[in-house]
């Protein structure tokens, strides 16, 4: 930068600091702090943990949204996160709005069903209220909402749900819980990553948004042994977004999530 430009910049900075205080602007290197490790739970997929730059997993005390078409691996990823948290004594809670929870599949994903609570509320608002109570009690280690489409079917409307979410966030921030929302895409033209329902503020509040896309089936001979999915980090408030990871989910008897 030329000295003239530097002087002009210094004068502008001085003027701003005179008007708005010295803390209004500061040099970049001054604002840098030693990086702090963010409490998180591993996704069980090393490649995905690596792609979640700055975190190393799903952050605790924050809101995470998983998006993807049905059978893209959203629920499997959520169950694997639950299974990853349980060895530390964390209790997993699954809010099953769609009434589609499969205990056998959860067990095959490694979820310890003795340390597990299934919640089947009547509507979306009730689900968020129960979630609020469970998080405030600091009793839940992982809380999964399956799925956002059912939440939005609530007669109270998206705005009431957004308000409930807003009340949930400060409680969540003080708790060690991981909160995950599953958002199935391609159910209609309104539910796509590009055209999200405008009234629902979930993407705005989410710290992490991961989109899953099934890439290919994994065959062994003629048998389908699993599938490979690509996870795209749509949003990451704690690190770099836009990264991708490829995960492989095999289901020959036991669901094993391996990175490729």
């Amino acid at each position: 930068m030329s000295s003239k430009k530097r002087k002009r910049l210094a004068a502008t900075v001085a003027a701003i600091q005179r008007r708005w205080g010295t803390k209004a602007l500061s040099r970049g290197e001054r604002t840098l702090r030693p990086p702090v490790e963010i409490p998180h739970i591993s996704t069980s997929f090393p490649s995905l943990d690596q792609a979640l730059a700055g975190i190393g997993g799903i952050p605790r005390g924050r809101l995470t949204e998983l998006l993807g078409a049905p059978t893209s691996g959203m629920a499997t990823l959520a169950l694997k996160i639950m299974a990853s948290a349980q060895p530390d004594g964390q209790t997993a809670v699954y809010v099953d709005l769609g009434r589609t929870f499969d205990p056998d599949y959860a067990a095959r994903c490694g979820v310890n069903l003795a340390q597990f609570l299934l919640v089947r509320p009547a509507n979306g608002l009730e689900a968020l209220e129960i979630g609020h109570s469970l998080i405030a009690s600091r009793g839940a280690g992982v809380l999964v909402f399956d799925a956002v489409t059912h939440l939005l079917a609530d007669p109270q409307g998206a705005q009431a749900l957004s308000m409930a979410l807003r009340q949930l966030l400060p409680v969540l921030a003080k708790s060690p819980a991981v909160l995950i929302f599953l958002t199935p895409l391609q159910f209609g033209s309104a539910m796509s990553a590009a055209n999200y329902p405008s009234g629902f503020a979930l993407p705005h509040y989410a710290t992490l948004r991961l989109q899953l896309k099934k890439e290919k089936w994994i065959h062994k001979g003629r048998d389908v042994r699993g599938y490979q999915a690509r996870v795209l980090v749509l949003k990451n408030k704690l690190g770099q977004a836009g990264r991708q990871a490829t995960i492989a989910i095999t289901f020959n008897g036991v669901v094993r999530g391996d990175s490729t």
Binding site: P35, D102, D104, L113, V119
Partner: protein, 401 residues
């Protein structure tokens, strides 16, 4: 008896140890603060031109254009200061650090040794500091911190001044009141009242000083009389574990560094485990082939001695490396060590629910009362060998326990 070890113009002295060509030139160390560059510390030659810390760098350049202006390295000065502290702590636990920007000041309580032994010990301390850090200290010995400090300030480097008990007031009497911790306003009042020396202040009646200057003035009056009963506060040196590895040839391959990082993490974990402590801070220091140094620190949310966590965090630090040249030496420090909370091992886990589960089951009766028992279900294993998956498990409504 208290020893005061003083290294005047400490930061400049450290810089001169690093670069011997700076030995005689006026030296000004600068740092960036808010929008402008300011003076961090100066050498004695630069101070003679009227340059002071916190002065704008532009003003310093005007006062002494021939001075050498270099950016300050506060972490380097801090490290050297800590090195001296830990060196003195090997002789006595009562070591108290003072200011280390203008000058490094360390008080050390030498206990109740005979005068000659104290002198010998102080001399030995000075020699040790000089040998280890190549910095020349001045040492003052007196019964209180203030007379010891003034004694150290009054003599030259590499010398010791011993003030015998009872001689403090006579030693201080001819010296200027500027040795006292005075603010600008008090200094101005002293000047107006014609109080120039410590002896003049000490000669005033204690009651008159209290009336005129309040409690602070009374304390200054006591200091001027050579009476300082402030004890040396024992300073705890933060413990750390560190592993250093030197390479025969400079290494710039990141995978080699990562592999070494994992080995070092294992070694640190073993050491921490043996101490029963966990590290809260991980620090990676690299000495590069081009004589530069690269440092990165990671503050962990939870203290750990787990090899996996240490290796993962160390790997993260290595990932952030920006290598311009090869690494010749790698040091990893596990600092801010704390005792890891003991956990009661549970032999009957199925009977004792985990803490989180207990909280949930304490809350469930309220939730069931509000939303109905149909909302909450537990999964029960019914027949593990059932052919159909849906028959292997069943859902059971949670009872409010």
């Amino acid at each position: 008896m208290i020893a005061c070890l003083l290294i005047p113009y400490f930061a400049a002295a450290v810089e001169r140890q690093i670069d011997l060509s700076l030995a005689t030139t006026p030296l000004v160390l600068s740092e960036s603060r808010s929008a402008s560059e300011q003076v961090f510390a100066v050498s004695v030659e630069a101070a003679q031109y009227g340059i002071k810390p916190d002065m704008a760098l532009r003003q310093a350049q005007t006062l002494c254009p021939q001075a050498r202006f270099i950016p300050a390295k506060p972490t380097q000065y801090q490290r050297t200061f800590k090195e001296i502290l830990s060196l003195l702590a090997t002789f006595t636990t009562k070591v108290e650090p003072g200011d280390n920007q203008l000058a490094a000041i360390i008080y050390s309580d030498l206990g109740r040794l005979a005068n000659t032994e104290q002198l010998e010990l102080a001399e030995y301390l000075g020699q040790m500091v000089q040998e280890r850090t190549h910095l020349a200290p001045a040492l003052g010995l007196a019964t209180g911190k203030f007379p010891a400090y003034v004694a150290a300030r009054s003599i030259g480097l590499r010398r010791i001044l011993f003030i015998a008990p009872g001689q403090e007031s006579s030693f201080l009497a001819p010296l200027s009141v500027t040795h006292l911790p005075l603010d600008q306003a008090l200094m101005h009042r002293f000047r107006l009242l014609g109080l120039c020396t410590l002896g003049q202040l000490a000669a005033l009646p204690a009651g008159a000083v209290l009336t005129q200057f309040g409690q602070h003035g009374r304390w200054l009056h006591q200091l001027a009389r050579g009476s300082d009963d402030r004890p040396v506060q024992a300073h705890s040196i933060p413990s750390l574990e560190q592993v250093t590895h030197q390479f025969e040839d400079p290494v710039s391959d990141r995978t080699v560094l990562a592999a070494l990082g994992r080995t070092i993490a294992m070694e640190l974990a073993v050491r921490l485990e043996a101490r029963g402590q966990g590290a809260r801070v991980l620090e990676l220091i690299l000495h590069l082939a081009d004589q530069r140094q690269w440092e990165e620190q990671l503050v962990l949310r939870q203290p750990t001695s787990s090899p996996d966590r240490l290796a993962r965090n160390l790997g993260g630090l290595i990932d952030r490396l920006q290598l311009a040249s090869g690494v010749v030496e790698l040091t990893v420090k596990a600092a801010d060590l704390v005792s890891i909370r003991a956990e009661q091992l549970d032999l009957f886990n199925h009977q004792n629910r985990a803490e989180q589960e207990k909280r949930i089951y304490a809350l469930l009766p309220d939730l069931i009362a509000r939303y109905g028992s149909d909302c909450f279900a537990e999964v029960m294993l019914t027949n593990q060998l059932a052919h159909l998956p849906e028959r292997r498990f069943s859902l059971r409504a949670v009872e409010g326990r």
